[in-house]
Symmetry: C2
């Protein structure tokens, strides 16, 4: 085996080029961010484990990008703009220089594209699977934060983008012989949606202006809406026929109708789920102007039960489970 980088070389050669202002080129144990007289600070963390959140043989650049993007998705849903991130990386025994260089390249591309530089980190060895956790810091403009708790009966419920693509991409990624009738273009679209989420940071301002409550859809639409409704002490009704599906998702579900449930309850969408009171048209216009269309899927109602999903004919649809659960 070729000589591997030392810990110091990993930092100096691969990660230091990603360092932001205040990170001292990653030569210190901590980073220093300047005082912020007007804006609040939003902090969030997400951990990813090989074999649980991604496949160990996924392309390393995409693993890095997904780890960063799931955190950026949280910032977006809170109406915040990225400041920077910290990375804790536990490398399994068989890591190689090439793997790590690709990982850093992917991370660096996203750090640049999303104006979210690396502020610090820790790289350690693990006898287990690759494990990484990212903590992202964001700016809450004028200290305005969009919580989960502000929804009230009568609010309109929106989602960004399309729902279920990643869950269907995971079905395909798990078993290459699934859905043999699916077109190649649909197969690659859904797989990419699983591998590489699109954090909806462009929606942040529209959310700050118009949303009564918001969160990102990470564990599945049905379960995440249940969490938002519970936090807001309300319930919700969703018209399944109005939930936006991509052409690829519609193609997959036409081949295997049971996959509709996977789309509604499967994780990894990283779309924004939000509630809007008052001028819903203005929110739709702001989202369109930001380049991220949103679709009305239902309404917040009084009550304390889980959200009700109805088909176009007013029948209630029951799911086996609402979302992904670790435990």
């Amino acid at each position: 085996m070729a000589t591997r980088f030392t810990e110091d070389e990993i930092i100096a050669r691969l990660f230091a080029p990603l360092a932001g202002e205040g990170a001292f080129g990653l030569r210190d144990d901590a980073a220093l961010l300047p005082p912020s007289p007007d804006d609040g600070l939003v902090v969030t963390t997400d951990a990813l484990v090989a074999g649980v959140h991604f496949f160990a043989d996924d392309p390393p650049a995409l693993i890095a990008q997904k780890a960063l993007r799931v955190n950026l998705s949280d910032l977006a849903a809170k109406g915040a703009a990225p400041i920077g991130f910290l990375l804790a990386l536990a490398l399994p025994k068989d890591w190689t220089n090439d793997w790590l260089a690709d990982f850093a390249r992917g991370l660096g591309a996203d750090a640049r594209d999303y104006s979210c530089p690396l502020l610090g980190g820790d790289t350690v060895a693990t006898p287990g699977p690759l494990t990484l956790s990212i903590t992202a810091l964001g700016r809450a403009s004028r200290n305005r934060f969009v919580s989960r708790t502000g929804a009230a009966p009568g609010d309109v419920i929106y989602v960004s983008g399309t729902i279920g693509d990643a869950a269907l991409g995971l079905v395909i990624r798990r078993a290459a012989d699934r859905l043999p009738g699916l077109s190649e273009s649909a197969r690659s679209f859904l797989t990419e949606r699983y591998l590489l989420p699109q954090p909806r940071l462009t929606l942040a301002e529209a959310l700050r202006e118009h949303a009564s409550a918001a969160m990102d859809v990470s564990d599945g639409l049905a379960g995440d809406l249940a969490k938002l409704a519970l936090a807001s002490k309300a319930s919700a009704v969703v018209d399944i026929a109005s939930v936006p599906l991509s052409a690829a998702a519609r193609e997959a579900i036409a081949l295997e109708p049971d996959l509709l449930e996977a789309a509604m309850t499967g994780g990894d969408d990283y779309e924004v789920l939000c509630c809007v009171r008052g001028d819903a048209q203005a929110f739709e216009r702001a989202a369109r102007a930001a380049g991220t269309p949103v679709t009305k899927i239902g309404e917040v109602i009084a009550g304390d039960g889980p959200p009700i999903f109805r088909d176009g004919k007013e029948n209630i649809i029951y799911f086996n489970k609402l979302s992904y659960r670790h435990f």
Copy 2:
């Protein structure tokens, strides 16, 4: 097996009681901290893996406390005061409610004692060993941060507390039959120093006032001093006889003189290593007043080589390796 907590129950029952202001009782995906007009923000992260940084059968409360304290130690060395922390926790397959309750109890005790509440987190499942990473946020009073880069020839080098206890504690923890002649009190003192570091937060103000450079000793005195010297583009000379050792460490080294090298190069001290220019007496007085005595161990010198360790008779001592390395 008794029913285990669900993910929601883990958060609501065990971790929500540790939540700080702005964390919304951990019912949101992110926390919001208020604007800080005067103080800078210090951020740091450290990851710990069972079998690497601690033993899987260490008491769960101590695992939690160590994970938090190694981050608090970084804040202390940077002259910062804790604001709060985020926890990413990957639980192995065999976790139990009791284990997790003890873990949360230890974490909560330290969160309270160090005024460092939980601001957010992520709890996931792993097929590998218990892995946790903590990101700590601190307040840099008047935006003053003590970096690694400020040392210059002539500065006096200090360490807090005593050095090497944890490395010797690890030797004992690894093999119960080591050092059979060691007293029980020394054995338990050294073991506890390994299990439960003491972050030197009380020194933060004295460091802000007097230190030209500082870091915490986490990987071993010799190697960490080498890092500080390199970052400051200088070298250093240390008188080994002046490095403060506890009575227990002296007892262990008397039994097995080779352990002196473990004490000088082994990790997990979590003492502060710093350089002082000008009125060193004033720094010593401030440290004593803060309840954390410091000891002069050497001097920064011009040069670009690794630090020189000398015994009392001016002989240079060479170590096999300067500190712990993951790779």
